[in-house]
C-alpha cells in the first residue's frame, strides 16, 4: 500500500483524471444544453469522433493546438447540423438519426484516416501546458491539477458561465421552456425551432471540442474509434446531472478518476484488470439510481419534435 501514496502515483492519478475527464465534461455539458431544450443527442459519440478527427488533422497540418480545437468544434457542429436539419426542422426520430450519426462518424473517420495515413498513426508534439501562478507551486496538486492545457481552465469557467446562463438569462430560460412546455414558449413568442437549433449547435461544438482535446492532448494521436464510449458516458452524465452543470463536472471527475486509476495503478506496479476499476463508476451510479432514483429526471418534451398546434 505504501506505493499508493508516493508523489508520482498521486500526480499521475490527478493529472490523468483531469485529462480523461475533460472530454466527458465538455460532451456532458453539450448534451445538457440539448436535453434542457428537449433534444436527445444519441449521436453525441459521433460528434465527438468527428471533432477528434477534424481537430487532429488541423493540428497535424498546422501545428497549432488552438486551430485544432476550433476545427474540432466545427467538426462536431457539422455532425450536429444533421440533427438540426432532420430532427428539429423535420421531426424525424432523434434516436434513430443519433445512432446513424454515430455509426456514420465511426465509418467515415476511419475511412478518411485510412486514406490519408494508411496504417500509420502519426503522433503530435506534446500540447503546450499553462502552469497557473501560485497554485502550480503546490506540491502534488500543482502538477496534477494546475499544469494543463488552457482549454481545461476555460472549461471550468464555462461550467460557471453555464450555471449562470441556465439560471438567470433569457436564453437559459427559453431552453428550459423548450424542453418542458414548448407550446408555452411558442405562445410567448419565442421560436422553439430556433431555440432548439441553437442548443444542438452548442452541443455539436462542445462535443467536437471534447473529441479534439481527447485526440490532440489526451492521446496525441488519432486512431479510429478513439472515443470508445466517451459520448455515451457524456449522455449518462448529462441525464444524471438533472440540468446542473456543476453536477456534470463532479460526474466527469469521478469517471475521469476511475479511468486514470488503472494507469496510475500500473505506475505503482499493481496489476489489476482495468475492467474492475472501470466498472466502479457505473456500479456506483446504478446503486444511487436504485436507492434514490425515485422520480423522472428528464424534461417532459425530451425527444419529441415540436409541431405548432399539435398535441
Amino acid at each position: 500500500m505504501q506505493a499508493l501514496l508516493t508523489e508520482s502515483f498521486l500526480v499521475s492519478l490527478l493529472f490523468g483524471a483531469v485529462t480523461a475527464g475533460l472530454p466527458l465534461l465538455l460532451a456532458g455539458l453539450g448534451e445538457q444544453i440539448s436535453e434542457k431544450a428537449g433534444v436527445l443527442n444519441i449521436g453525441l459519440e459521433g460528434m465527438m469522433l468527428v471533432g477528434a478527427y477534424t481537430g487532429f488533422v488541423a493540428t497535424y497540418h498546422t501545428g497549432s493546438f488552438w486551430l485544432g480545437f476550433l476545427a474540432g468544434g466545427a467538426g462536431g457542429m457539422s455532425a450536429a447540423l444533421i440533427v438540426l436539419l432532420l430532427c428539429i426542422r423535420r421531426g424525424l426520430n432523434q434516436i434513430v438519426i443519433g445512432i446513424s450519426i454515430t455509426l456514420g462518424a465511426e465509418g467515415l473517420t476511419s475511412l478518411l484516416h485510412f486514406v490519408q495515413f494508411s496504417r500509420s498513426y502519426p503522433r503530435l508534439a506534446a500540447a503546450p501546458v499553462v502552469v497557473l501562478p501560485a497554485l502550480g507551486d503546490i506540491p502534488i496538486l500543482g502538477k496534477g491539477l494546475f499544469s494543463h492545457s488552457p482549454l481545461v481552465y476555460l472549461t471550468v469557467i464555462l461550467v460557471a458561465t453555464l450555471t449562470w446562463v441556465f439560471r438567470s438569462t433569457y436564453f437559459g430560460l427559453s431552453l428550459e421552456a423548450a424542453g418542458n412546455t414548448p407550446a408555452a414558449l411558442d405562445a410567448a413568442g419565442v421560436d422553439v425551432v430556433r431555440t432548439r437549433s441553437c442548443a444542438v449547435m452548442c452541443t455539436g461544438f462542445l462535443a467536437g471540442l471534447g473529441g479534439a482535446y481527447m485526440a490532440n492532448v489526451g492521446a496525441g494521436i488519432f486512431v479510429p474509434f478513439i472515443t470508445s464510449g466517451a459520448g455515451v458516458i457524456g449522455i449518462v452524465l448529462a441525464m444524471l446531472a438533472r440540468g446542473r452543470p456543476l453536477m456534470v463536472m463532479i460526474g466527469a471527475a469521478l469517471f475521469g478518476a476511475s479511468l486514470a486509476m488503472t494507469t496510475a495503478l500500473q505506475v505503482a506496479g499493481i496489476d489489476i484488470p482495468t475492467d474492475v476499476v472501470q466498472m466502479l463508476p457505473f456500479a456506483v451510479v446504478m446503486a444511487v439510481l436504485v436507492l434514490f432514483g425515485r422520480h423522472s429526471m428528464l424534461p417532459p418534451a425530451l425527444g419529441t419534435p415540436y409541431v405548432r398546434g399539435e398535441r
Binding site: 434516436i95 438519426i97 455509426l103 465509418g107 467515415l108 486514406v115 449518462v236 432514483g293 425515485r294
Partner: protein, 349 residues
Amino acid sequence: MTDGSTFAGFQATLLRVLVPVALALIVGGLILLVLGKDPVGYYGYVLERSLLRWGGAQETLTRMAPLLLIAAGLIVAFRAGIWNLGGDGQFLLAAVASAALAPVFIGILPRGLTLVACMLVGSLVGALWSVIPAVLKARYGVNEIITTLMMSFLGTSLANVLIKLVLRDPDTTVPQTRSLPVDDRLPRLFGTTIHGGLVLAVLTVIVVHLMMTRTAFGLKLQVLGANRAAAVHAGFRVERLILAAFALSAALIGLAGAVEVLGVWGTVRADWNPALGLLVVPLVFLARFNGFAVIGFTLFFSALMVGGESAARRVGVPQHYVLVLVALLLLFLGIVEYLDQSRRKSGTP
C-alpha cells in the same frame, strides 16, 4: 380492400425501402470515388465474395443468426416503446455464461441437452441483466436509455473480469474460457458450415413477429408502446407488461450470445465484443419492426459485413466503410419517409 390496392400498397412499401437503399449505395459510391477508389469494383467484389461464392454465402448466412435473434429482441422492446440499448452487455454476459457452462455440461449431459441447457442459461442471464432497468422504468419511470446503456458498460466489463479472473482456461496464453470441442457445438446443416442456430433464429423472428401482431399479449405491448396512459386506462397491468417486455427482449439478445458461442466460437476471449447491440437498431428501424422485413435487411447487412471485411484486405477500402453505408441508409430512409408523409398530408384536403 381489393387486390389492386394491396398490390399498390406493397409496391409503395417496396419503393420506400428500395429508394433509400439505392440512394445510400449511390452516395456511398460517390464517397469512394472522391477518395480515389473504384465504387463499381468495390460493390462487385462485395457482392461476389459474400453472396455469389458458396463459401462466402455460407459465411453470410452463419453471420445472420445472432443478428436475427438480437433483432427479434429489439422488435419486442421497440414495439412496446422500450429503448433497450443495452444489448451488448446482455449479449456478452450470456455468451460468457454459456461458454463457461458448456464444457462442464458436456461431461455429464448428452450433447443435445447440453446445447439446450446452455441456450436457456444464456437467455436467463440476458433477462436478468435487464431486471434493474426494467424495475426502475416500471416503478419509478427512470429513463431506460441511460440505465440500459450503463448496464451495458457494466456487463461488458463484468464479462471481461469473469473471463480474466474466474473462468480463465489455464492452458491458454490469451485469457479465454475453456473451449467447447468443435464436434459438440451446434450441429451443421446438411454438410455446410452453417450451424443450426440460423434455423432457430429465423423461426424465432417469425414467432416474435406473429406474437407481437397476432396475440393479445403482443397487442397489449403495442398499446403500451403507442401510449402508456391508454394502456393504464385500458386496465392493463402496465408495470408487469414493462417487466415482461424487457425480460423477453433481453432474453432473446442473450440467446443470440449463446448461439454465437455454441455455434461458431466455442469459447469467449477476453475483450471480445462484436458490439452488435447498436448495429442492429438501424436494421430493425429500416424494417419498421416487421419480422419478415428484418430477415431481408439482416441478409443485406450480413453480406455487407462479410464482403466488406474481405474487401478491406483485397480492394483497400477499410471494413468500417460498411458503417457509412448503414448510416446513409438510415438517413435516406428517414428523409424518404418524411417526404412521403408530407406528400400525403398535402394530398388530403
